[in-house]
Amino acid sequence: MEEIEVKSLTKDYGHGRGIYDVSFTVHKGEVFGFLGPNGAGKSTTMRHLMGFSKPQSGEAFIHGLSCWKDHARVMREVGYIPGEVALPEGLNGAGFLQMMQGLRKSPSSRITELLDLFEMDPSGSMKRMSIGEKRKLAIVAAFMGDPDTLLLDEPTSGLDPVMQEVFIDFVKGEKEKGKTVLLSSHIFSEVEALCDRIAIIKEGKIISTVNADDVKHFKRKTFDITFADEDSYRRFPAEGFEIRQAFPEERKVSVAVDDSQSDAFIKRIVNYTVKSFVENPQTLEDYFMHFYKSDRSFGDIAHGKRKRH
């Protein structure tokens, strides 16, 4: 039995909005990243996993239980951080945590621990709380019951950089304890630090699922070489390496090199007079950025068609 299982989930809200035939599984003890532009369907998928929405077709399961039909049972072992930070009316922070604790029937020792970790004082009025403080309360509420499975919808938005670090370390710790996490996020460093596998969703469809390790140890590297003289610049292409881009005026080339070619590449390049030699580190961001560029056009305006180099 898989921890989280989404089977050809479809929900069409019309106007091209919704999710179409989305399927993926998250194994026990795994942190699964969910990436995609705004409006791509990340939250819609979360909504179905939380049992808020009824699937048009397909189904979502957590611990083998249907998220829609067995909502209350599923929630016993699920912690959730909503994308929205609006907290219930009429309560201060402490009152909110007390309510959540009552609804979850969880012990209070862990709440104190979590509040200390995130340096949060819950006694203030909600109206005077910043988004970050509300987010911290949501984090405490999600983890207070020590659930096995966590659904986190952009959990660190609104947190300051220090707290984002604290949160990432905390989730790492939870992962070591064997917790399963579905993390929707726009922050590449966060996804890079935490995720084992990453799914890309775009326009309601999952277009790619990759292992984070494969991306990090990407087997090709890109080098930017600027030659000191015109002669070197002219001769280099004959070496037969893949030149991705050339800039004649700067006498610069961008070369893609397979790891297996590294030795040959280094031995050849010493024969040239080189002014500058830069390895472009491959980050998750580079890898995924092109998924973010939208091909959709709204009216006459085409977005994301700008060229980058």
Binding site: F52, P82, A86, L87, P88, E89, M99, G102, L103, A142
Partner: protein, 256 residues
């Protein structure tokens, strides 16, 4: 099928307005019943208008917060991220709206009984202001209980309708719009119809567009039975709307 932590939150979110409106209702009632100048208007103004208007304000404000505003703001996501069934949420909110209305009327009833026992109001005086003639004797405790019961079931029907709108709509503006129109029209038409009973006959027809017509203190004062049938209809409306609202909330898609 009742969640105490959620109930507590609902009480905290609506408690103040309930206390204020209940206090205002009770104070107005005592004032009308005690002051000689206003005793003849006790039924016409207080029981005729205020006993509907003040609970209606509370119903309108609180029922929107039971579901629609929480779904609209997104805070319902926190409640539903715990092992709680939607039916339990619905029943807890229903318990809140029924109990607050009931308690409001229990308080005004007790206040009126206490004041009336001290100095019973003559029915002739009470009736004269409301356009009812030929009444004899004093206002009894039984009558006070019946009048309040009649008013309470109508308020429950109003509360049920607003509860239903709040459960159906995902946005406060629609929930408040429909509830506000319903409550506003009912209360206004009730006031206009009151002028009808005072002799402006053209206005009397307004009673047909108001749910408050099901509340009938006149029949209680004259010893009739009409209020029982009308009360039963109001109760039926309350039951149906509470059930429809709850079932709807359990089955609908939530945009959280």
């Amino acid at each position: 099928m009742f969640s105490f932590p959620l109930f507590k939150q609902t009480v905290k979110a609506n408690g103040l307005i309930w206390v204020v409106l209940t206090a205002v209702t009770a104070i107005l009632l005592v004032q009308f019943a005690v002051l000689e100048m206003t005793q003849n208007l006790l039924f016409l103004i207080f029981y005729g208008v205020m006993a509907m208007l003040l609970p209606a304000v509370f119903i309108l404000i609180s029922s929107n917060k039971l579901f629609a505003s929480q779904v609209d703001r997104g805070s319902m996501a926190y409640v539903l991220s715990t092992p709680i069934r939607r039916s339990k949420v619905a029943l807890t909110q229903m318990a809140f709206s029924v109990l607050t209305i009931a308690l409001m009327f229990v308080i005004t009833t007790i206040a009126h009984i206490a004041v009336n026992a001290n100095d019973p109001l003559s029915l002739e005086l009470a009736g004269s202001g409301a356009g009812i003639t030929g009444l004899t004797g004093d206002l009894t405790t039984e009558m006070i209980v019946k009048v309040n019961l009649s008013a309470m079931v109508v308020c429950l029907a109003m509360s049920g309708v607003c509860y239903m709108f709040s459960a159906i709509f995902n946005q406060s503006k629609y929930s408040l719009g429909f509830s506000g129109t319903f409550v506003g029209v009912s209360v206004l038409a009730n006031m206009l119809a009151m002028f009808g009973s005072l002799g402006v006959e053209a206005l009397e027809n307004f009673k047909y567009v108001s749910i408050c017509t099901l509340y009938d203190y006149q029949s209680i004062l004259t010893g009739g039975d009409d209020w029982i049938i009308k009360g039963a209809v109001a109760l039926a409306i309350a039951v149906v709307t509470y059930v429809v609202g709850s079932v709807w909330f359990c089955k609908k898609d939530l945009p959280l």
